[in-house]
């Protein structure tokens, strides 16, 4: 199912535009997101798909810069699309649309390579702001997700520190803790003596570190779905 009305934009504009792919199975929501994404001047919505299968065809082209996907899909899961995207184009970003934005499936999506998320009822300006931030190398995070990550870092105190905990810098851990405790970026920046713009950069780095580092898993996923041939 296609809803990308501006897929045939001028070539020169397309060069600079962010090529987006939307996957959302609920029709009213897909319609809403399509409207919002289409209205954004900085991007070019390649397609709005209702199924994973339909989306894989676009992903296979390898030129998608940003994937905005729901998690539960009729024929699969959003994380599969994210893995394929990240395997084919490591520079591309993936963003999850979740209705509650705090359950552990979001963490699964982050581990699959998502670097941002949106709530389904997000207003248009929120959505566009989040995408722009993400494209600028900054990721959003909310306290509940920060808390889940922090919990994952110190899962069992008696066992040796998890590789993840060793992977994060002390500053990144501080940022996570601060967010989990409810500080805004500005408050946190003031507390840690860093610029407000640096906080979401740290967040994006944390997301990237949380992404399953073993690429073979992603490549396997992609080949299993028939997107690439091994």
């Amino acid at each position: 199912m296609k809803a990308g009305g501006e897929a045939d934009d001028g070539d020169s504009a397309r060069q600079a535009l962010c090529r987006m792919l939307l996957i959302e199975d609920d029709e009213p929501l897909r319609d809403r997101f399509t409207r919002i994404l289409t209205s954004w001047r900085g991007g070019d919505l390649v397609a709005a798909c209702a199924t994973l299968g339909a989306a894989l065809g676009y992903l296979q082209r390898g030129d998608i810069d940003l994937l905005v996907t729901d998690l539960r899909l009729p024929d699969g899961h959003g994380t599969q699309a994210i893995r394929v995207l990240r395997a084919l184009n490591p520079a591309a970003d993936a963003m999850v649309i979740s209705v509650l934005a705090d359950e552990s499936t979001v963490i699964d999506a982050i581990e699959a390579g998502a670097a941002g998320y949106l709530v389904k009822d997000a207003d248009s300006f929120e959505l566009i702001e989040a995408i722009e931030e993400l494209r600028a190398g900054r990721s959003p995070i909310c306290p509940s997700i920060a808390r889940i990550i922090v919990r994952r870092l110190n899962a069992v105190p008696s066992t040796p520190p998890s590789p993840l905990a060793q992977l994060l810098t002390p500053r990144e851990t501080e940022v996570l803790w601060g967010i989990a405790k409810g500080y805004t970026y500005a408050e946190l920046a003031e507390r840690l003596g860093i610029s407000r713009q640096t906080v979401p950069v740290h967040i994006k780095n944390i997301y990237r570190k949380l992404e399953v580092r073993n690429r073979s898993e992603a490549v396997f996923e992609a080949s299993r779905l028939g997107v690439i041939c091994l």
Partner: protein, 632 residues
């Protein structure tokens, strides 16, 4: 070893040595108010009579010595007179003025080599005469010791009896007691050895005690009939083996392995001596004198040297315990040897007394070892008990952990399932409704759906709020509120940095707090068209926390309403209170919370809640509309 302990050990040793050598330098008291005879006429078998001073020691081998003692009486006294010989060796036949009055051999059993005895005899009044009286003492002795006669006293029973009794105690009773003591110690060691044959020291000590028992043959030989005097030298010869055992014990106590040849000497030495005696190569007396006595002396000396080496060079504490009695025994053996070799005059052999010191010391060592092993047993027992208790504690802690984790797991699983259900179902539908309403331009439906979705988020978000995580719940609330207010154009000022820590937080508590705050915000948006809402965490009265919700709308005027009652009821359930204050410009709602929230939420029925509780519990639909209208 610290200096003080060294010094006290040394002092104790000196004291013991002084006590042990007492018989050597402290003479026994003698009667002072009785008639004392200090000189005798000696009539040896082949010698001419000659006056000799008393005490006198003389060889009587192969015969006897007759000594004549003379004393003068002014008149035959009315009260009976007694003749007291404090010390004689070994047997005396006494006659007064030619008539026999006593033979010590008939009453005392202290014959044989264990010589030295005392005698008190009545002088029959009929045999006494005024003027000069003559007492004849015919001394007889065995081959080992010499015949001995001390000064002789004549007096009344009152004058002489105490001195006689003292000597009787020391020379006869004490020897029997020494033997009894050895028998007792032997039995005790036998029992100890039976129960702990692994301890070599027990076995060797038992052997030492048993082998040295025949030395007391002399004490008992008189009980047999006829007395087997020939046994005496062989009983003594067994001592040579006992002395080898003594060296073995000294080595064991010093912690040195015992060489096999030394063990072999234990039976070999006495058997060789006995064979020499039996074969007739040497006489039994010669066997004792030429082999037994030197061997015993050498062995005692060797054992002493070993113990001294163990005590001084190796620093073994038990060697000190052994060294002291060994030194005493060595002294006694040298003394006895000197008597036998005729270098000393004296009829009493000390070794028979002092060997008990050795037996006692070994018994002390054994008891000490037993005590130490028991203490070690107690210690290790206590240690094991301690470790067991620790393990049990650890186990119960692990069990408790496991139980808690299992409960947590079940709870998490339930929460996950519930969240997933809500996510897939209601929340998805609500999001869809929002999108539809937006498309159809139905703002009121859209807002209601948004409110419902936010409320659902608050519920789900509170589900995994743990103890002292109210701040986390507040953080989630803030995030939602920010988006909510952004839509309506109201500025939110939020600060929880000064909120004191609140413990005892459960999901129900967290949800109650969030609902109170949501209600306060809804009221602010509804009643006063606020442009700015400030939510702050503050420290209240000691141990209490405050959350203040201020708005710059119309000051609060009416006395409550459904929303306010609702907030107050929820605050009471949290053990806190809600105060609403009108301000110059705007209204301030203060939520006061205890530092520790109550264990369980107080059910509505237990408090004086109005009857409209059920109605109040319904989500405030008006509030949602109010926010919506404020946004327009």
């Amino acid at each position: 070893m610290p200096l003080r302990r060294r010094v006290s050990c040394l002092a104790l040793t000196v004291l013991l040595a002084a006590a042990a050598s007492l018989p050597l330098w402290l003479p026994l008291p003698e009667p002072h108010d009785a008639l004392t005879i200090t000189q005798a006429d000696c009539r040896h078998a082949c010698d001419a009579p000659s006056p000799v001073p008393l005490p006198l020691a003389r060889a009587t081998r192969g015969g006897q010595t007759e000594l004549r003692l003379a004393f003068d009486l002014d008149a035959v006294p009315q009260h009976p007179l007694y003749l007291f010989i404090p010390m004689l060796s070994q047997r005396a036949v006494v006659s007064l003025n030619g008539s026999a009055i006593a033979d010590t051999g008939t009453r005392t059993q202290m014959l044989g080599v264990t010589s030295g005895t005392t005698a008190l005899m009545a002088l029959p009044a009929g045999a006494l005469s005024s003027g000069r009286n003559t007492v004849s003492v015919r001394l007889r002795s065995s081959g080992v010791g010499r015949g001995y006669l001390s000064r002789v006293y004549i007096g009344t029973a009152r004058q002489l009896a105490p001195y006689f009794r003292l000597r009787l105690f020391l020379l006869e009773h004490l020897r029997l007691m020494a033997m009894a003591a050895q028998l007792l110690i032997t039995v005790a060691v036998l029992v100890a050895w039976c129960y702990r044959p692994r301890e070599a020291l027990f076995g060797w000590t038992l052997l030492l005690l048993v082998m040295s028992l025949p030395a007391y043959t002399g004490l008992l030989i008189g009980l047999a009939r006829p007395p087997p005097h020939w046994l005496l030298p062989y009983g003594f010869i067994l001592n040579t083996g006992a002395c080898v055992v003594l060296q073995i014990i000294a080595l064991l106590v010093s912690g040195v392995a015992v060489p096999w040849w030394l063990k072999a000497c234990v039976p070999v030495a006495p058997v060789l001596c006995a064979l020499a005696g039996l074969s007739g190569a040497v006489s039994p007396e010669g066997m004792v004198m030429a082999l037994g006595v030197p061997m015993i002396l050498v062995a005692a000396l060797a054992a002493t040297i070993i113990a001294a080496w163990g005590a001084l060079a190796k620093g073994v504490n038990e060697a000190w315990l052994l060294l002291a009695p060994l030194l005493v025994l060595l002294m006694a053996s040298l003394h006895d040897g000197a008597i036998i070799a005729r270098w000393l005059n004296g009829p009493v052999f000390f070794a028979f007394y002092y060997r008990q010191a050795l037996a006692l010391a070994i018994a002390v060592i054994l008891a000490r070892r037993l005590g130490i092993s028991l203490r070690q047993l107690d210690d290790s027992n206590a240690r094991l008990q301690r470790r067991l208790a620790q393990r049990e504690q650890e186990l119960s802690r692990l069990h408790e952990n496991e139980r808690r984790k299992a409960a947590e797991r079940i709870l998490n699983e339930e929460r996950r399932r519930l969240t997933a259900d809500l996510h897939d179902g209601i929340s998805g539908h609500l999001a869809s409704i929002i999108a539809l309403a937006e498309r159809e331009h139905s703002p009121s439906i859209e807002r209601s759906a948004r409110e419902a979705l936010d409320d659902l988020r608050a519920v789900i978000h509170s589900l995994d709020i743990g103890d002292s995580e109210l701040v986390v719940a507040l953080a989630g609330f803030r995030e939602r509120l920010e988006r909510q207010l952004k839509r309506t154009g109201i500025v939110l000022h939020w600060s929880m940095a000064h909120l004191p820590e609140i413990s005892g937080v459960t999901p129900a508590h967290a949800l109650n707090v969030l609902r109170i705050l949501q209600e306060a915000v809804t009221n602010a948006v509804r009643h006063g068209p606020a442009t700015r809402i400030s939510i702050q965490g503050l420290a209240g009265a000691p141990g209490r926390a405050l959350v203040s919700v201020e708005n710059d709308g119309v000051p609060f005027s009416t006395g409550g309403g459904l929303g306010l009652d609702n907030m107050k009821r929820r605050a009471r359930q949290l053990g806190g209170a809600v105060h609403v204050e009108a301000q110059d410009a705007g209204t301030r709602v203060l939520l006061e919370l205890p530092g520790r929230l109550p264990e369980r939420v107080v059910p509505a029925g237990e408090e004086d809640a109005p009857a409209r509780v059920v109605v109040q519990d319904r989500p405030p639909a008006q509030a949602a509309t109010a926010i919506g209208s404020a946004g327009q």
